[in-house]
């Protein structure tokens, strides 16, 4: 099998379901040697699932995996993928924070042993870092947990290209630039092109369409667990790509009340400027305020400040409830029933004669099961019997069911399917019209379309505020990245 220009890897009608959710409904994908394939699609379109199948971390329910002409479907695993030269940089970091950069490189290479393994591992990773990110300034002796997020991501990317006994023929990059600044992201994309020209293959997943259009040879568009279009990159423009993804046209949510005078509304939240900040956050009655920017730029901390009120340096008028985004860590009470998980936000209102009124509690649960269409035969079932999306609905019910005036949402739509999202968006707008205030941290630009006002965060502070009519993906991204290039 010649590697030059031939097919390197091929997935044939791959299917994968998680419970009732069909993540992949028969996907065919081909990657040629020396080719950079751009993979785009909405969140939940199945891109990451597909890449997990290709990398061997998820076994498909059905379908075939062929690499360099050999059928590898039975017993395909991470180890088999590695031996075949398939590497993957996952969306969430796959480094061990307690180990050094060199030790993390060693974990990738099972055969790196002997007395000098440490020096070899350090040499491997540092030469790769130098090749991809010249001037990176990362010490191989540094403990990964001590490095800032950007450098961690650089280490992880460089690690995927290190070679000992098995070659790196196909490297999957799943949102590799999400926490890189513009300069470093540029270095990476340049390297991707060079890697492909030298005969390597890349699958690049990114929500930044300019990156895909600029770097990929061929673009594969996924929607609802299927590949909808495949074509040369030059055949697409930004607009046709957006259309192919089935993106809500940019002005789909027409602003019903263009002329909102913010200052006329009663103030609910005002933060005091802390060191390094130039813009303070304001939120009024009936407003949906978006906190945008790249992930982890201080948005969650801002929500905590508002929650802490005066102690956190924020003037807050009204009661506050939270919808957690990180369900497992600060959302559900895993041992409680769905109903208890919902009612815990309003216990004070449910008390009668010093005790919680069971019947009122049930009524509350039933109301919200109805309003949010929580799919369960019985609200007394354990919360963990629900799918992720429905658990998230229960968390929404907890916050919305309380009497809180201000609802803080910490990227609450993670892992929520498209249908639920639409329902929840509608509910949020209705509740806002009824006078509630929402502070909404989101990493998905299209969700900002629902906000009356958007603050963009960078490096822990607000850098721009945009009223609704000025919110575009481009503006948000521009503000999200440092201006220097």
């Amino acid at each position: 099998m010649s590697t030059d220009g031939g097919t390197l890897a091929e997935l044939g009608s791959v299917k994968k379901s998680f419970g009732a959710v069909h993540a992949l409904t028969g996907v065919d994908l081909r990657v040629d040697a020396g080719e950079c394939v751009g993979l785009v699609g909405h969140n939940g379109a199945g891109k990451s699932t597909l890449m997990n199948v290709l990398a061997g971390t998820l076994a498909p329910d059905e379908g075939t995996i062929t690499i360099e002409g050999a059928d590898r479907t039975p017993h395909y695993s991470v180890t088999a993928a590695h031996e075949a030269g398939v590497r993957c940089v996952f969306q969430e970091l796959s480094l061990c924070p307690n180990l050094t950069v060199a030790e993390n490189a060693r974990i990738m290479h099972p055969h790196l042993g002997g007395l000098r393994w440490r020096r070899q591992a350090a040499g491997l990773i540092s030469s790769e870092l130098d090749r991809i990110f010249p001037g990176h300034g990362i010490s191989t002796k540094a403990i990964v947990g001590d490095l800032p997020l950007t450098q961690r991501q650089m280490v992880e990317i460089a690690r995927a290209f290190t070679v000992t006994d098995s070659p790196a023929k196909l490297v999957i990059l799943d949102e590799p630039t999400s926490s890189l600044d513009a300069v470093v992201a540029g270095q990476l994309l340049t390297f991707v092109r060079r890697f492909a020209e030298e005969g390597g293959s890349i699958v690049l997943i990114s929500h930044l369409l300019t990156e895909i259009l600029g770097s990929a040879d061929r673009i594969v568009v996924m929607r609802d667990g299927r590949v909808v279009i495949t074509d040369r990159a030059s055949a697409f423009s930004r607009d046709t790509l957006v259309a192919a993804m089935g993106h809500v046209a940019e002005n789909a949510v027409e602003s019903t009340e263009e002329e909102r005078d913010r200052s006329a509304l009663p103030l609910r939240v005002r933060t005091e400027l802390q060191h390094g900040e130039t813009i303070n956050l304001l939120a009024h009655e009936g407003e949906i305020v978006g906190l945008a920017g790249l992930a982890g730029q201080g948005q969650t901390r801002m929500l905590h400040r508002v929650f802490d009120g005066a102690r956190g340096g924020a003037e807050v008028r009204g009661t506050v409830a939270v919808v957690a985004g990180d369900r497992q860590n600060d959302g559900v009470f895993p041992l409680w029933s769905i109903n208890k998980n919902v009612s815990v936000g309003s216990l004070r209102e449910l008390v009668r004669r010093w005790l919680v009124d069971d019947r009122a509690e049930e009524r509350l649960g039933a109301t919200w099961q109805d309003r949010l269409a929580i799919q369960t035969p019985n609200m007394d079932d354990p919360i963990l019997s629900l799918s992720g999306g429905n658990q998230q609905k229960a968390l929404f019910a907890r916050a919305l069911g309380s009497k809180a005036d201000i609802i803080l949402m910490d990227d609450p739509m993670r892992g929520v399917d498209v249908g639920t999202k639409a329902e929840v968006y509608g509910l949020i707008r209705k509740e806002a019209e009824a006078g509630r205030t929402f502070l909404w941290y989101t990493t998905e630009t299209e969700e900002l379309e629902h906000c009356h006002h958007v603050y963009v965060f960078r490096e822990g502070a607000i850098v721009t505020d945009l009223p609704r009519e000025q919110v575009t993906e481009q503006k948000v991204l521009q503000a999200s990245f440092r201006d220097s290039t």
Binding site: V78, C96, P110, H136, P148
Partner: protein, 322 residues
């Protein structure tokens, strides 16, 4: 280049924090030793040090057993009574029928390995499993030795009372720490084992077996427990089913004092051995030279433990602030 210019400051801050954390067990050891020498200057001799530190050796082994389990984010509440069993076997079966004795000890290690596999495969909380096992081990120890007794094998007693130019416990502690450090911090597989504590998913995605890693760690813990039981027996001459019971919580304290964490795979074998020595000195030698009445001693041990661990917390906080 923004990232390049931003990095040196951050990394050096992290470096100094790590240095402080690594120095912490040594500082507390020096403080405690200093206090003992000040109150009882005669202990500052080869013989005195030998006497002070000899019983730190079994605790150091027990602490390393705990450290192995804590490296993979588990906790072992059975190590104390397990030491009672291994010491009991060494004092009875090993003396009468050496081959059977060795087999019995190997069997104990095999049980530890099986526990590691069980905890991983069934995804059970290690605390519950090992707490249950602690009663099982105690039962086994009591049926081996209904009354304190038995006899340490001759060779073991001789080995534990070796007379060398430098106090033999010091030599042993150094060797133990060095071997553990090489195994866990230097060896290529040691990095993988610690990685399991840091990010098990990442290690699995790189193609390693988590089951194998856990079984390895529990096996090592079992072996360290055997060594702890044998050295304890060699020093005391006879065994008692409950002789190791107090060790369980002391080992956890020693790992933490030595710079380890309950979760996250951050451990330091050298620190743990130093921590074990410090805790041993604080909990026993310091109290006896202080001539505290016996009814106050147990309480005093607790107070000293809290004080020593609070010191570590304080250092951690100062490190973070800088």
């Amino acid at each position: 280049m923004s990232t390049a210019t931003a990095s040196p400051g951050r990394v050096s801050g992290a470096d100094s924090r790590r240095l402080l954390r690594a120095a912490m067990p040594f500082v507390s050891l020096i403080v405690i030793l200093g206090a003992i020498f000040y109150i009882q200057p005669r202990s500052m001799s080869t013989f005195g040090l030998d006497l002070l530190l000899r019983l730190a050796v079994p605790l150091a082994f027990a602490t390393l057993a705990q450290l192995c389990v804590m490296t993979v984010n588990d906790l072992d509440l059975s190590i104390g009574t397990y030491i009672g069993v291994t010491a009991g076997i060494s004092a009875t079966i090993l003396v009468e029928q050496p081959i059977l004795g060795v087999l019995a000890l190997v069997g104990c290690v095999a049980v530890y390995a099986a526990l590691g596999a069980l905890i991983h495969l069934r995804d059970l909380p290690s605390i519950v499993v090992t707490l249950g096992m602690s009663f099982v081990w105690l039962g086994v120890a009591i049926s081996l030795l209904p009354v304190p007794g038995g006899e340490a094998p001759e060779w073991l007693r001789t080995f534990m009372s070796l007379k060398l130019p430098i106090p033999s416990p010091i030599l042993m502690l150094i060797v133990i720490a060095a071997v553990a450090h090489i195994a866990l911090m230097w060896s290529p597989y040691g990095a993988v084992l610690r990685g399991v504590g840091g990010n098990a998913r990442a290690v699995r995605r790189a193609g390693w077996s988590l089951l194998k890693a856990k079984v390895t760690m529990y096996t090592l813990a079992g072996i360290c427990g055997v060594l702890a039981g044998m050295t304890l027996l060699g020093l005391s001459g006879a065994a008692d089913a409950r002789m190791g019971e107090r060790y369980t919580l002391l080992t956890i304290a020693a790992v933490i004092l030595g710079g380890g964490e309950f979760v996250g795979g951050r451990v330091s074998p050298i620190g743990a051995v130093v921590g074990a020595t410090t805790i041993w000195l604080a909990a026993n030698s310091l109290l006896s030279v202080l001539k505290l009445p016996p009814e106050w001693q147990i309480g005093a041990i607790g107070v000293i433990l809290i004080a020593v661990l609070a010191l570590r917390w304080l250092v951690g906080r100062v490190g973070r602030a800088s």
